[in-house]
Symmetry: C3
Subunit: 362 residues, 3 copies
């Protein structure tokens, strides 16, 4: 019947297969050039794509959580503060950071400030002869009352409403106050996750034990897996001098590299530490060099008035920066990369050489 | 010998090369359609893949470190606190953030709190007639003693054990307290790294000098490279009104876009700033609108009792969000993309047209 | 003319098109194997590349901003502190985190410390018989004066310059102090952006209303969209016991997964919450287990001397970790992936089968 015919036609159609007529070319020159190109493409696929770039892998970015704990005690003896011991509750501000911690190394302390009026620090714009030189109202920095006051016996300056006495921050100590800070140590605990591969790991590796951890100290050569770092060593690795950096403060990056090839056993995936100064120390092209911030401790006098101790804190902020990409074998990028390479492989035979063949050998 | 024959056979085999027999079709219609398709594919490869998507590049995600420094002084005169000057140590809480900073703009202050008992604030569930109306023990918010006390001359409420007197936070000031906050400025220092390309840069560009940095202010048109931002300008760019936002607080994102094409000179890779309000201001679909948090300053009285000043701080939290991807030429993605395009190019000639050829021209 | 001839030649040349001579092979075996391979490749392209891996999409990483607000009141009654109520300003330190918050659950309080001298806590290295056993100067932890002092009636230890009295942190309370912390709740507001797709969303979904938000609580089954979490529930979901974890503290990750397929309506793109303990609780391979940090409240006595209350705070730090990748259809990855698959498809017909054809059918 007609239906049967159509069916059998269709059936035949499905199993029909078109192929091209091949001609075997026998030429040493053409053949060897062709083999060379094929070899180069194969070499590229195996050597570069697979070994160097690992393009057969699917990748995921690291997710990280960091806790830090600083240890150490410092001692200072200044005219302002007298003999004083500094422990972690004093120099680590705020007491817990998320992935960064700050160690105070130098400071300008202005004790017993109260809300009152006092004469401005003398400079070009604040020195006055009479009240008419002082504008009432606020400028960018202070609230002026409009009066001219004796700052010292010889100099008069405009009066301001402020926390008085004012902070004198021009005489930063030439040497860092908390010299001992370089010998403080910090324990960094870092937990990472690659959610796509359901991979979790910590920077405290499974093969180290508690007794080692209690007394070890990071050293690139002898103790590369110890998570306890001496501040001075970290600054040295960043090619900076701790005591110089401590005067005006700075920002030091603790980079933890978790780049991993998860086709290998988990054992091979570990943290690699490196250190780099993150703030700019070139003076020509900078503003507010170093790193400092102001904070205050508030007190109340017996009559209920609020006083505060203002501290301009200079120090080193350590930023723990965790980064990395994990790769694992996956069909899709493999197919894509091998497919692309094979395209070139097949094009070499079909496109480029066809003209040559047509002209000379057929 | 047999070995020699096999060898020469193998030798021949290696240099043998199969190619296809080509037929040159001379047809204006077929030829022009074919050329058009070839042209479209080439156009796609060059125009879209290379110019628009830059698919020939390997990419890396940005790693960033941010420090911020707010500058400015405010003045408030309220019945609670009297005339008071606010400097950065007062309104910037905590004194140093990692990549965000908070500027206090409004507040509810509850001074002289002590651990004691006092009557609850009157509302539907706390008003009582006698002790039997008050359950002893803790509920979600307070610890009740089970007694019923005079809150005022007319109202009785359950007694609670708490920091007393209780905070009355229903009467939020209608205007932001620290009006001057809109003229505060912030210096943002941002250091970025693309680890894969070993590329480091700061948002303070190498071609600006210190004297410019000391007095400049960011302006999208006139000073796009200045890292000092006026708070009001940032809020305006996010299409919000500073004074309105200051009443209940909010979260403002300072987005720094470091998308870079590292095939170009380093000079072209710079930060692009944009600003966006991140919290929800639509009242229908919100809970705890704005942004606020509570903190306390602790004092000790002369007899050793602890008192505190509780502050419910409303203000704007500025989140510095750094993002970006850098791209650089790399063989693998180039091969992959060009290979894929060439596949289409070659398929056009072999697969689609073959039927046409078979039918009409052979 | 010669020019005309060349032109017409070129013209012809442009419309010439080379194609291959096709041979239709009629063999059930060859045809069916061939069709099977074609089918497998098609199946791979459609099933795996498109449906599972979504390789036709361009991707972008999430950018996120988080604010948290803890609610709850606790009550403790210890010999040191007496009856005491704890509210959010007391137990949430620092008062506002960026994307993490800390809830104090246990502590060692050392009140009334002053800068002075006192005998060390007795242990193997600090017990002394006479001054000659004590070295003057600082060791890793303390600054020694070189004197030997009575610690108690029976034991003598070296004298140190420090905040005295020293903290005795060996007797950590066996039960968490702030038992009520497990019933505290936290409101997490999370705002995410996919900058490449200009996509913004919040974890408070547009279809929930304020009245629901005011009283809801997250539950994976009944309230998966409520952004208010009970601390105990989060710890339980991480398969930990809150009261056990509260004794020594720990770090809990609140993972918010924003993986989205933006080819679907925005409605389908929402947060998925999961919880995981991030610190190591295995004692064999650990140092400083749990999570704690020290902070101090500073006071001034009436005669101007500074005293402080040192608090070693144990508690749970909750890290809100936002991650995700959004994908959207894009021409480039589609072309690349389909191209690669087609390469295989065409190679099946040209490379592998050609030998077979040559031998048997030609």
């Amino acid at each position: 019947t007609a239906l049967g015919t159509r069916k059998s036609h269709c059936h035949r159609c499905f199993f029909e297969y078109e192929t091209e007529r091949m001609i075997v070319v026998k030429s040493k020159v053409v053949g060897s050039v062709f083999r060379l190109i094929q070899f180069l493409i194969l070499f590229y696929v195996i050597g570069y794509v697979c070994v160097v770039q690992k393009s057969y892998q699917e990748t995921d970015s690291v997710i990280s959580s960091v806790t830090t704990k600083v240890k150490g005690t410092g001692f200072t003896n200044t005219s302002d503060l007298g003999a004083r011991v500094w422990d972690v509750a004093d120099y680590n501000i705020p007491p817990q950071g998320e992935s960064s911690f700050f160690v105070l190394t130098n400071m300008i302390v202005t004790p017993n400030q109260t809300q009152s009026t006092c004469p401005e620090l003398p400079n070009q714009s604040t020195i006055c002869m009479s009240d008419s030189d002082c504008l009432e109202g606020s400028n960018d920095v202070r609230i002026q009352t409009g009066l001219c006051m004796n700052y010292s016996e010889t100099v008069k300056t405009c009066q301001v409403l402020s926390w008085c006495p004012l902070e004198i921050d021009i005489n930063l100590p030439e040497h860092a106050l908390l010299v001992a800070a370089e010998d403080f140590t910090v324990l960094i605990k870092n937990s990472v996750t690659y959610p796509k591969f359901n991979f979790h790991k910590r920077n405290i590796l499974p093969d180290v034990n508690s007794s080692y951890l209690k007394q070890c100290e990071f050293n690139r050569k002898t103790d590369p897996d110890c998570p306890i770092f001496r501040l001075k060593d970290m600054v040295s690795e960043a090619e900076e001098d701790f005591q110089t950096m401590a005067i005006r403060g700075g920002v030091l990056g603790i980079m933890i590299d978790w780049n991993c090839d998860l086709d290998w056993p988990e054992h091979y995936c570990g943290p690699k530490y490196s250190f780099r100064r993150l703030d700019n120390k070139i003076p020509e092209n900078n503003v507010a060099p170093g790193y400092n911030f102001r904070f205050a401790k508030y007190y109340k006098t017996t009559d209920g008035r609020e006083t505060r101790t203002l501290i301009k804190a200079y120090g080193i902020r350590f930023d723990v920066i965790v980064f990395g990409t994990a790769g694992k074998f996956n069909m899709v990028p493999t197919i894509v990369n091998v497919g692309a390479a094979l395209t070139f492989l097949s094009l070499v035979s079909s496109v480029k050489w066809s003209h040559l063949q047509n002209t000379h050998y057929l």
